[in-house]
C-alpha cells in the first residue's frame, strides 16, 4: 500500500540522491532494500514517513500523500521507523519511559499509554526490563526497545534502517527473530541492510539500489539467479562446487538447503560409481 512514482530527491548541497524511483510495496509484505553505502537507501526510506519531501515525483502511503502537510502525523503513526544507532534514538531515562515517548506525543490517556507500553515490551520480550536504564541494556536489547517504541504507536508498516549493523551476532539474530515475528503478525516490513545473507531467508522481495536508482526488484531466488555479487558465503561455496563438476544448485543460500544439495549430489555420484564398477 505504498506507491512511489518517479521520485527524485536532491540534497541542499545539490547531490542527487534519488533519481526517478518507481516502486510499489503491498500490505503485509517483507521487503529488503539493499545496496552499497550512499546509494540512496536511507534517503528513500526517509521519504516514507515524511521526514524528507520529494524534490519531484510523489509518494502515497496507505492512501495518504506525503507532500500534504496535514497528513504528516498520520503518516508517522502508520509508518514507524527504527534507526541504525540504538543509543541516539533512546530518549527516556528508563525503558518504559522510552517506549511511552510516542504514545505521549499522540497525547493518549495515561491508562492507554501504560497498556501499549506493556503490550509492546511483551512483544519484543523485554517486559521484565521495563524499569531498567539504557546503560544497563545491551545493544540488541536497546534496538528491540526501539522497535517496541515504534510498536507502541501501532503502525501498519515498520521501516528498519540498518538496525543490526552495530550489533554482535547473538543480538543480531534476536533482533531478526523479533522482526520475523512482527511480519508474521501482519505488519508490513521494509528492511534496509548491507547484509544480504540475513534477509534472503526471510524477505518476500529484494530491491537492490545503485546510484539513486532501482537496479533490481524480485524474489530472493530471482535475485540470486541474476547476480554474481554480493551473495552469501554458502551460495558462493555452492557455485564453486558446481564449477568443479558437482551436480548442485548454485542458488541456495541456507546451510540446510546446501547440505541437502550436497548429500543428494554425493549420493548420485556414489550410485554412478557403483554402477560403473558393476558394469566393469
Amino acid at each position: 500500500m505504498i506507491r512511489i512514482n518517479n521520485l527524485s530527491y536532491t540534497y541542499p548541497d545539490r547531490t542527487l540522491a534519488l533519481d526517478g524511483v518507481d516502486l510499489s510495496i503491498e500490505k503485509g509484505e517483507f521487503v529488503a532494500l539493499i545496496g552499497k553505502n550512499g546509494c540512496g537507501k536511507t534517503t528513500l526510506v526517509r521519504h516514507l514517513n515524511a521526514l524528507l519531501m520529494p524534490t519531484s515525483g510523489s509518494i502515497s502511503v496507505f492512501g495518504m500523500d506525503t507532500t500534504d502537510t496535514s497528513n504528516v502525523w498520520n503518516i508517522r503513526q502508520t509508518v514507524g521507523m527504527v534507526f541504525q544507532n540504538p543509543q541516539t534514538q533512546f530518549v527516556g531515562t528508563t525503558l518504559e519511559e522510552d517506549v511511552a515517548f510516542g504514545p505521549e506525543n499522540l497525547a493518549l490517556p495515561q491508562n492507554e499509554i501504560q497498556e501499549r507500553v506493556d503490550r509492546s515490551l511483551r512483544e519484543v520480550d523485554l517486559l521484565e526490563y521495563k524499569t531498567y536504564s539504557p546503560k544497563t541494556l545491551s545493544g540488541g536489547q536497546m534496538q528491540r526497545a526501539a522497535i517496541a517504541g515504534i510498536l507502541a504507536m501501532e503502525p501498519q508498516c515498520i521501516v528498519l534502517d540498518e538496525v543490526t549493523s552495530m550489533l554482535d551476532p547473538q543480538s543480531r539474530s534476536n533482533v531478526l527473530d523479533t522482526i520475523a515475528q512482527l511480519h508474521q503478525s501482519g505488519k508490513t516490513i521494509i528492511y534496509v541492510t548491507q547484509r544480504i545473507e540475513e534477509i534472503l531467508p526471510i524477505a518476500d522481495r529484494i530491491i537492490s539500489m545503485n546510484n539513486g536508482r532501482i537496479e533490481f526488484v524480485g524474489t530472493p531466488k530471482e535475485y540470486l539467479a541474476s547476480v554474481e555479487s554480493p551473495i552469501p558465503a554458502v551460495t558462493s561455496l555452492m557455485r564453486k562446487l558446481k564449477a568443479k563438476g558437482f551436480d548442485v544448485n548454485g542458488n541456495v543460500f541456507t546451510v540446510d538447503d546446501a547440505l541437502l544439495e550436497i548429500t543428494k549430489a554425493t549420493q548420485v555420484r556414489d550410485k554412478n560409481k557403483t554402477e560403473t564398477s558393476g558394469n566393469g
Binding site: Q77, N85, V91, G92, F101, P103, E104, P109, I113
Partner: protein, 256 residues
Amino acid sequence: MDELFLSYIHGDSILYRLDPRTKLVTLMVISILVLQTFTFPCLGVFIIFFILLAHLSGVSTGILIRSIKPMLIFFTFIFLMHLFLTKGTPIFQIGLVHPTFEGLTTGTIITARFVLLILFASLLTATTRPTMITNGIERLLRPLPLKRFGLSSFDIATMMSLSIRFVPVLLNTARQIRYAQISRCLDIRHNMFRGVSTTITPMIRESLQTADELAIAMESRCYQGNFRTSLFELKMRSADWVVLCGISGLAVLSYI
C-alpha cells in the same frame, strides 16, 4: 561517573510518594527561608529539620551528605573569602593576613546555608525520579505565558529530560575520544590539560551528530513540542495538601 551528583535512589517512603510538585514547591520555600537565616539557632532548627526529613525519607544520611563532596572546593573558597576579607576584630595577624571573628561567624553561616541548600535539594532528587521532577516542573510552568518566547512548558520538560539522558552519553564519548588520543601517544602524565583542544573538536562534531540523529528519531515518533500526555500523570493526594499547608504556615510564621 556512574554515580552522578544528586541522583535518584530507589526506595519507598512517605517522601517518595509525595507529588513532585509538592516537593518542588516545598524545596523552593525552604531554600528561600534558609537563605534568610542570619543566626546560629535558626541554622540549628534547619539542621534538625533536615535530619528529621532524611529520617522520614528512608534514604541513608551518608548518601545525602556525600552529595556535598563535589561542591567542597566551592564551599571552602566561600568560607575562606569571608574569614579573611570581613573587617572586624582580628583573631591573629601574620603580615597582611588577618582573619576576623566576624568573618568566622559570617563565613560559617553563609557556608552552612549553601550546604543546607544542597542537602535539601539532594533529598528531592534522591526521592523523585528525574522524569517526575521534569513532569512536576512542566506542570508548574504550564500556566506561564511561555508562548511569547516561542517555547512551551513541554519543550522545557523535554529539554530537561534529554539533558539528564544524554549527559552520561556525552561524558562517555569524551572518554572514548580521550582514550583514542592517548592510544596515539598523547602524553597527559605531566599536564592534564594537554590535548583538551583536540578533544573538544571531535566532541562538538559528535554532539551535533547525536543531536541530529536524536531530532530525526524524535520527529519520526511524532514529537511536535506541543501538548503531550505522560506515562506518569501527576495526582495531588491529601498528604500533599497537608505538606503544602504546613510549609506555607512555616513561611508565614518566619515572616512574622
